[in-house]
């Protein structure tokens, strides 16, 4: 590596824009990954986060246009993600079908449904013009979520730009990391969720309604994935076919890499978000590093494989993860 290249990378690393972008990239990953943690802690493997994010992203835009309000768009995106999750829940919990197969089905149906509706509702031109506030916003435009600068704090050097000039959903995500941790490890319901994920038979014997707990966790996971999707689409102010481009799977990877814990998943999302931010950054710079930018993007996947193989501390899923539970079967 030449000195020029090295110093180019070096200056990039001290660029506050890069770190601000890291947090932005990490946000949709972390929101979905937190949902994944909740779902898998109860024993339901959720590989359908990609699909739930997609419907969240589409319906956020759709309702943002209808109600001329970004916040309603976000809420409707969450609702759409939750409804999509109910399909997974019904198949995987109620019908006790293979959870991976159900996840594949939901992902494919979501990809098809959003592509179909995009074409049906907006034709070949794509979603309408985006805008932030009424003067620029006319009837039928996509109301976009503006960034919110935290008073005073945003003026701090470097840190201010990185942490306090962000989308409101970024702040929500940061709060949720802590809340989900408390929820899973410090509340009765959280304990029940973990019990169901480790040993559903024992949990059932102790009087916990296994099916109900799993319905709740899968739906919560869908709502959080929907929020992640809404963040994606309403930050750029448009929806395009398959716009999540694998983020649901990176979130899944982050959840595993973070060993099924909220803080671990968040850390992994920051790492993967950094990779993505660096990837975008490298694409925009000219020089020898640019051509390798695509390879940098493979890191989340490779790191997850390494983690799963136990080369950097073993990643062990909840004991009953992926197993359907039949209350009527003899244990």
């Amino acid at each position: 590596m030449s000195i020029v290249t090295a110093s180019g990378l070096w200056t990039t690393l001290f660029d506050a824009n890069l770190w601000q972008a890291t947090l932005r990239q990490a946000t949709p990953l972390a929101l979905a990954a937190l949902g994944g943690v909740i779902s898998e802690r109860s024993g339901v493997v959720n590989i359908a986060m990609e699909g739930m994010m997609l419907v969240g992203a589409f319906f956020a835009v759709f309702y943002s246009v209808i109600f001329a309000n970004a916040a309603i768009g976000v809420v409707m995106g969450m609702v759409a993600g939750g409804i999509m999750a109910l399909f997974l829940a019904y198949g995987a919990i109620h019908l006790r079908a293979d959870q991976i197969v159900m996840g594949v089905a939901v992902n494919l149906a979501a990809l098809g449904l959003t592509g179909y509706l995009l074409f049906n509702k907006y034709g070949t031109n794509g979603t309408p013009q985006s805008c932030f506030a009424p003067p620029a916003c006319q009837k039928g435009s996509v109301y976009t979520i503006p960034d919110y600068s935290v008073p005073l704090l945003h003026r701090l050097p470097a840190v201010g730009q990185i942490l306090f000039q962000q989308s409101p959903i970024v702040y929500v995500m940061l709060g949720l990391v802590v809340l989900v941790h408390i929820f899973i490890f410090r509340t009765t319901l959280g304990l029940r969720i973990r019990a169901v994920g480790e040993n559903p038979r024992a949990a059932d014997t102790a009087g916990i309604n296994v099916q109900a707990v799993r319905y709740l966790t899968v739906t919560l996971s869908g709502v959080l994935s929907g929020l992640a999707g809404a963040y994606l689409s309403l930050t750029v102010g448009s929806f395009s076919e398959g716009m999540t481009s694998g983020r649901g799977f990176i979130a899944l990877a982050a959840m595993i890499f973070g060993k099924w814990t909220p803080f671990g998943a968040f850390g992994a999302c920051m790492l993967f978000g950094f990779g993505q931010a660096l990837y975008v950054d490298l694409q925009n710079t000219s020089g020898p590093l640019q051509s390798y930018s695509t390879l940098v993007a493979t890191l989340p996947y490779l790191l997850t494989i390494v983690a799963l193989a136990g080369f950097i501390g073993r990643a062990i899923p909840p004991a009953a993860d992926g197993q359907p539970y039949d209350p009527a079967a003899a244990g």
Partner: protein, 378 residues
Amino acid sequence: MGLAEETSLERNFVWQWASGAAVPIVSVILAVLVGAAVVLAVGENPLNAYWQLLRGSFGSWYYFTETVIAAIPLMLAGFAVAFAFRGGLFNIGAEGQLLAGAVASAYVGYKFHVPGIVLVPIAVLAGCLAGALWAGIGGVLKAWRGAHEVITTMMLNYTAILVTSYLVEPGPTGHPGPMEQTIQIGNPETPPMNATLPIIVPNSIVLNNRVHAGLLIALGAGVLVWFLLWRTTLGYKVRAVGLNPRAAAYAGINVKWTVAVTLFISGAFAGLAGMVNLYGLAPYQLTNSFSSGYGFNAIAVALLGRNSVVGVIAAAILFGSLQQGGTIMQANAGTSLHLVEVVQGLIIFFVGADAVVRYLAARGMVKLPGPQRQKAAA
């Protein structure tokens, strides 16, 4: 019950076959109906859409050949997923293995200057080997490190997609990717493939048809899958581990080795799918959008085909017809091709949760003879 007792052996056989096909067939019908409801809900005409889809896939000999062409990679990738299922493994990474096979065979295709009769077999081997190695990573990690194959093969999918993208895509400055074969169509600097698969249906039968020898390769692979699974010791081991790894180990089968080999072989078929599509279809060039999700649809094909060779072939033709007919549907009925994905997703849902079908059977709405398997995939 009484009915089953008085059936002759021959009827029993038909009965059994029907029970195997009942869930997939009912699932497809249910998926088509729910798909129609979606079309109706957004104010389009489902009858017209489906009519155009049917016409576009089976309405003429030419359309039918296009359906078969679309089915070829689905068959091969479907065999890959089905073979792994037989061994109790969920290979969700056929997409990545398919790309690995395409990349390796593309390299062979423009680097090796030998006659086609020599080159094509080498390309077949290269494609199989690349796919097998890509899947083998997941197999080895599953066998000796306990890493779940669903996650590893899924992660390897995206790795393959990105690496292929790196190899073929010119960067923003126009600097071409490392694989010269893929610079651009019509560019004289792009070295051509030194061999391709011939068209096997004469022009006099179906004008301008594109049915390539990949069909024969796919059908041959089907025979090979059947032979491997049901006529070799290896196949016996694969199925034994798939049914019950503990019992297989007790019977003296090396389970770890079998798991690794199962995924290795599975990946070979997916890699072959990549090679066949690259060598069979003009412009014989590896591009970024080379695979339109064949590897993911292969999961559906294997599930729908109940992991049997004949079932996979039938399911691949169905999915091929959806793909081909969907294009015509979009052009003629104005209904987005994405409807096909919705229907495919629903098919997977209903096949995977065959409880829905069993529910209907319990209420006498569908006849289901024989005990039904609990799950489509172990």
